[in-house]
């Protein structure tokens, strides 16, 4: 974005807002990565640490809200500046939710602590999470660079996440039917997969906000939806 306001301190405050969002986004991305790593290794200590670190994300959201309110009151922003600030507020809210999902994944990791025999679905979960992390990174880059095209690409990629989620849902149901002892860990894994799928939705929402910030309107057209898990049935043999 143009950093050439006549009042330089205004530029400085807008940059600060963007830096805080970048920091928050980086943290959310890392929390998700660490939550998945802890799940793969059944590392309860790491999982507990993730729960603890979520506070920093929450605190950042509060700081961003405060800064945005101060900016609106002090500068009475217009046009692209107004859109940047409003987008900042919404993006921060989305990132905070992403942090919550990472935390929830970590909590479930502590609960199930070990699910040997479910390596397959767990590696699928890790693949899905890797995809979502990439989306978080790209959408943050798009936000910082005010790059709507890049944001639109991220939005399009959410279908892949939905597809993996639908497949995983079916796979986990099958495991549960095979052996009732799988029901507890598989149910947690189902929620974990759902959490990751929701993170993808929040990233998509951020991508749409970036598009709005740049163009002044939301992207046209319904977002492609590929999550069929709501319609999935697996009949016992």
């Amino acid at each position: 974005m143009d950093k050439n306001h006549i009042v330089h301190s205004y530029d400085a405050e807008l940059s600060q807002l963007q830096n805080m969002i970048a920091e928050m986004g980086g943290l959310a991305e890392m929390q998700l990565a660490r939550a998945i790593a802890a799940l793969v290794k059944y590392d309860a200590d790491a999982a507990n640490d993730i729960v603890e670190k979520d506070r920093r994300i929450d605190a950042l959201e509060d700081e961003i809200d405060e800064l945005a309110v101060r900016l609106i009151a002090k500068r009475q922003p217009m046009a692209s500046d107004l859109r940047t600030i409003i987008t900042g507020l919404k993006v921060a809210a989305n990132l905070e939710r992403i942090g919550d999902y990472a935390k929830n994944i970590a909590k479930r990791t502590v609960t199930i602590s070990s699910a040997t025999g479910l390596r397959g679905p767990i590696s699928t979960i890790a693949r899905m999470a890797g995809l979502v992390q990439g989306m978080i990174k790209n959408v943050l880059d798009a936000y910082i660079a005010h790059d709507a095209d890049k944001a639109d690409d991220v939005r399009a990629r959410d279908q892949e996440v939905d597809q993996i989620h639908s497949g995983l849902f079916r796979e986990l149901l099958t495991y549960m039917m095979e052996d009732p002892r799988n029901i507890t860990p598989c149910t947690h894994l189902l929620f974990i997969a759902k959490n990751i799928e929701r993170v993808g939705d929040h990233v998509t929402s951020v991508a749409e906000q970036v598009h709005y910030m740049v163009h002044g309107e939301l992207p046209l057209g319904e977002r492609p939806k590929q999550d069929l898990s709501s319609f999935t049935l697996v009949e016992p043999k």
Partner: protein
């Protein structure tokens, strides 16, 4: 401002009709050889408030003065193009500029009451245009105009005192009363609040919103927030050109032209 509602309900007050009140076509202004305004094309809807914004010297006041032919009074000033009011070119041969100025009133940046009583300030226009038959009728017009300007309650017990003895905000409302006393169709305002405090400004803005029911209002302002608050349509001028005009909501959230964006966000244009 209940008193305004009462005063205005007597008149044909209506919501925006979509009817074009004024349309400027290829309007240009020269001060001697200097071309201060170029090729302005713009329509003004009846019962709307239209803001003209832009950096100092871009030609806002020059354009505003075209609409009541005030530029005619400036030596060396030449206006080209046409401005139609209800379909008639106000620069046509049959138009008397003095009569035109009764139909298109003007309020200036600095409140400028005449050095006369409050009553005479308001009665001045109706008197010279022969709009009141006798004392009783004139009293009525004065009361109506002062009520419409939201000044009646404050002024009714001091009508014979000088207008210059009022506060700045009251003086500006007196000037608005003076402008509307001749029942104009259009009111031009050139930075009407720039000399007023926030409370007096808010009162004028409230008044503008009420007056729009009866008049078409064109306002020049340097306050983006004021333009955003009071107008339905905004036009941005830059170096003698009309760069962009459109619904106020759009201009202040997603202006089309980068020059508009640069100006309203406080960047160097």
């Amino acid at each position: 401002m209940a008193e305004i509602n009462v005063a205005l309900s007597a008149r044909d007050s209506s919501a925006p009709t979509g009817k074009i009140k004024l349309s400027a076509r290829n309007v240009g202004v020269f001060y001697g050889a200097a071309n201060a305004l170029r090729d302005v094309n713009m329509d003004f809807e009846e019962h709307q408030v239209i803001s003209l914004i832009g950096p100092s010297g871009c030609g806002k006041s020059t354009f505003l003065r075209c609409i009541n032919r005030m530029n005619d009074t400036i030596p060396g000033c030449r206006v080209v193009g046409s401005i139609n009011m209800d379909g008639t070119n106000i620069y046509g041969p049959d138009i008397d500029p003095v009569e035109l100025r009764a139909r298109v009133g003007m309020v200036f940046q600095k409140p400028n009451p005449f050095p006369k009583s409050i009553y005479d300030n308001v009665a001045y226009g109706p008197r010279i245009h022969g709009m009141a038959a006798g004392k009783a009728e004139l009293d009525e017009v004065v009361e109506w105009a002062l009520r419409s300007a939201g000044l009646w309650e404050e002024a009714k017990d001091r009508l014979q005192q000088p207008g210059t003895g009022l506060s700045g905000g009251q003086q500006q409302r007196l000037c608005i009363a003076r402008a509307i006393a001749v029942h104009p169709e259009v009111i031009l305002m050139d930075e009407p609040c720039s000399a007023l405090d926030p409370i007096a400004t808010a009162k004028i803005e409230e008044l503008i919103d009420e007056l729009r029911r009866s008049f078409t209002i064109i306002i020049v302002t340097h306050s983006m927030q004021q333009a955003a608050r009071v107008s339905q349509k905004t036009a941005f001028f830059h170096m003698g050109n009309l760069v962009e005009e459109g619904p106020t909501d759009v201009i202040f959230t997603k202006p089309h032209d980068p020059r508009t964006g640069a100006y309203i966000t406080g960047r160097i244009g």
